[in-house]
Subunit: 361 residues, 2 copies
C-alpha cells in the first residue's frame, strides 16, 4: 500500500520511516502492513496530544479490545522513574505480552519514555514512534530511549530501535513558535554537522515558521532525518561518530539542567550551545567558519543565542563533566572543523572557564 520515505538499518532490524501528511488517521493500516502478528497495542501519549489526536487514532482500530491508551501528564517531568514504573504497571495490567507493540504518540518525552518501557518490558518488545512535534523528528529515529534522573538528563536508558516510525507532518501545524524553535534547532544542527547544502537551503527557504507549507515541510523533515539516519546506521551505539549529533548539547544540556528542565525548550538550549561550540571551534582550529549568516536567520526565527546571565560557571562545568561523552572527568566537545564537518575534541577546563566567564554570571 505504501513505500517508506526512508529505511534505517539497525543492529537488530531494518525499520521504515514514513513521513506522510494525514497518515495518523489510518495508523492501524500502517501497523498491519509493517508489523507481523501483533497481539495487542499499548498506546502511550500525553494529555495535550491526546486531546488533539487520540480519538482519530483510536478509531482507526477495528477492535477496541486490542488497544489500550495510557496518558501521561505532558512535559519533561514525565520522563521520570515514577512515570516509567506506572506505565510498566499499566502495561502488565493490560496483559501486554512479548508479541505486543507499544505505540508512542507524541513528542520526545513520550517517545523516550515509551521506547524505554518497550526496551525493558519483558526484556524488550517492539514499539512504533509516532512523532507529533518537530523536535521528535530527531529523537524518534536511532533507538535512543530513556528517562531522566535528578542528577542528569537521559542518564537511564538503552538503545532500542523502533520497528516503525510514522510521521504525520500535519501534526506540526498545531505547534506554538516555541516548539517550532525547539525542533528546528536539531534540523539546523544536522546541517551544521553533516550537510552544508542542506543548511544553506534551510536558511534560504525558512525565515519564519508561519510560511512553511506541507511539501516544503515534508522535504525538510526527510532531509533532516536522512542526516540522522546515516549517522546512526554507521554508529548505533555511539562509540564514534554518533557523538557528533551532540553538537551544541554539552553546554545545552548543562543549561537545561541548571535552569530546571522545561524552562527553556531543549532546542532553545541547544541553540545556545551551538553558538558556543561554533565560537569554540574557531578558537580551537584557529579558523573562521563564517557562521554569522546562519545565526542571524536563527535570531530572526526568535532564538536567544546568548547564555542566560544568571547561570554559574562552576555549576555548568560540573554538569558538563557528567555528560555521557565525558570520561575520567575530562570534558569532550563536538566542534566543527568546517561547516558540515564535525569532530570530537577534549577541551581543557581552563579554556571553558575562560570562554564562559564574561558570558555568564
Amino acid at each position: 500500500m505504501d513505500v517508506p520515505s526512508l529505511q534505517v538499518k539497525s543492529s537488530k532490524h531494518t525499520y521504515p520511516i514514513i513521513v506522510r501528511p494525514g497518515c495518523r488517521t489510518s495508523l492501524y493500516d500502517y501497523l498491519v502492513q509493517y508489523l507481523d502478528g501483533a497481539s495487542r497495542y499499548f498506546l502511550i501519549t500525553d494529555d495535550q496530544v491526546a486531546s488533539l489526536y487520540l480519538e482519530e487514532i483510536e478509531s482507526s482500530f477495528p477492535n477496541s479490545e486490542k488497544i489500550k491508551s495510557y496518558i501521561l501528564p505532558s512535559g519533561e517531568q514525565s520522563k521520570s522513574m515514577n512515570q516509567y514504573e506506572k506505565a510498566i504497571t499499566a502495561a502488565l495490567e493490560f496483559k501486554l505480552d512479548r508479541k505486543s507493540v507499544i505505540i508512542a504518540v507524541g513528542g520526545g518525552v513520550v517517545g523516550d519514555l515509551g521506547g524505554f518501557v518497550a526496551s525493558t518490558y519483558m526484556r524488550g518488545i517492539r514499539y512504533v514512534q509516532v512523532p507529533t512535534t518537530l523536535l521528535a523528528h530527531d529523537s524518534s529515529v536511532g533507538g535512543k530511549v530513556g528517562i531522566n534522573h535528578p542528577l542528569g538528563k537521559n542518564m537511564i536508558g538503552s538503545f532500542h530501535p523502533p520497528s516503525l516510525v510514522l510521521y504525520d507532518p500535519e501534526c506540526l501545524l498545531s505547534l506554538p513558535p516555541k516548539e517550532w524553535r525547539s525542533g528546528f534547532a536539531e534540523v539546523i544542527k544536522h546541517g551544521f554537522i553533516a550537510d552544508r547544502e542542506f543548511l544553506k537551503w534551510l536558511t534560504e527557504e525558512i525565515s519564519s515558521f508561519d510560511q512553511v507549507d506541507m511539501a516544503l515541510l515534508t522535504e525538510m523533515l526527510i532531509r533532516s532525518i536522512k542526516v540522522k539516519a546515516k549517522i546512526v546506521q554507521e554508529d548505533e551505539q555511539e562509540s564514534g561518530i554518533r557523538a557528533f549529533l551532540n553538537f551544541g548539547h554539552t553546554l545545552g544540556h548543562a543549561i537545561e539542567g541548571e535552569m530546571g528542565y522545561g524552562k527553556l525548550t531543549h532546542g532553545e538550549a541547544v541553540a545556545i550551545g551551538m553558538k558556543f561550540a561554533l565560537r569554540l571551534s574557531e578558537r580551537y582550529f584557529q579558523t573562521k567558519l563564517d557562521y554569522e549568516p546562519y545565526l542571524s536567520v536563527m535570531e530572526k526565527l526568535g532564538y536567544e543565542l546568548d547564555i542566560p546571565h544568571n547561570l554559574n560557571v562552576e555549576q555548568l562545568i560540573h554538569r558538563m563533566k557528567l555528560d555521557k561523552k565525558s570520561y575520567n572527568q575530562v570534558i569532550n566537545f563536538v566542534l566543527l572543523e568546517q561547516i558540515g564537518k564535525a569532530t570530537l575534541v577534549e577541551i581543557k577546563e581552563e579554556i571553558l572557564i575562560d570562554e564562559l566567564t564574561g558570558k555568564v554570571g
Copy 2:
C-alpha cells in the same frame, strides 16, 4: 596469565568464563587482563556476601579511589524498582562514566540487578559477573538481567551480556543445603533438556551435597554452563530454543509468586515444576520417559517435588498466563520428547486444570 574455561559468543561481543578455585582473591588482575581501559569500578553485592568476601576482593585493587562498593540487603526483595533506582543514584554520585565497569558479586539477585543497572546506566556500560552461589552459575551466563514487579518476576529487564564471568567455586563451600538445592535444580535441568549423559553422570556422582570435592564441582559447573552457553549462543534473544531453559519454570515461577518470593528457593520451585512438566510430557507425547531414578536422587538430596497443597489452581493458571512464553493468554510449556530433548508446546487450560487439580488445594 590465564586461559578461560569457556568463551561465549553474544550478539555484541565474545566473553570469557573463568571457573577457577580461589580466583576471587586476584579479581583485579583478571579485570586488567580481560577489560580494556576501565575508568572506574562500581561493585554491587549484598550484605551476606560482603561479610564473607568483600574485604579480600577490595584489597586486590591497588587504587581504592577507583572502586566503590554498594551493598544491597540480601534476598529476592532487593530485585526491586526501589533498589534499582538507589543503585543508579549511587553510581551517578560516584561519577561512573561510559568506560566504567560494574562488578556484580553475589547470587542471582545481585547479578540480575547489577546487570540491569549496567544495561541502562547511560544506555549501557560493561559489567562483570562474579557468581558466589551455585544457582548463579546459570543466571550469570547469557545476559538476561532484570528486576521483579509486584505483578510478576523478571518482568522488567533486558538482554545485556556480561564482559566477563569470573567464578570461584570455593565460594560455594559456604552455602547451606537449601542454596545447594536451589542451584543444583538448574544443573539437573541442563541435563534434562539437552544432555542425558551429563544427567546420568550427575546422578551417579552426586548423591549428597557434603561429598562434593573441588575438582568434581569445577567439572560439574563447566559442563552445566556449557549447556547454557550453547543454547544462548544459538538464540540470545529467546525467539526459539532459549525458551527450553525455562523447563520447569512456568509452574515454578507461578508457585514462587503465589507463595511470595523467597519462601521457597527458586530451584526448589523449579524442581516441583520439572516434575510436573515431566508428567505432562508423558501425557502429551503418550510416552514413558523413565525419569523416576533422577527424581529419586533429587528426593535424596532433599527436594520436595509435590506442589504445596495450600495453593489455588485458578491463581496458578492466572500467573502462568503472565509468563513471558505466553501469548494471547495461551500458556506455553517446555516439555520433553525424550530425556535430553526439549520442545515448546501450547497446553490447553483444561488439561492444566486437570493435572493441577487433586495435586493442589
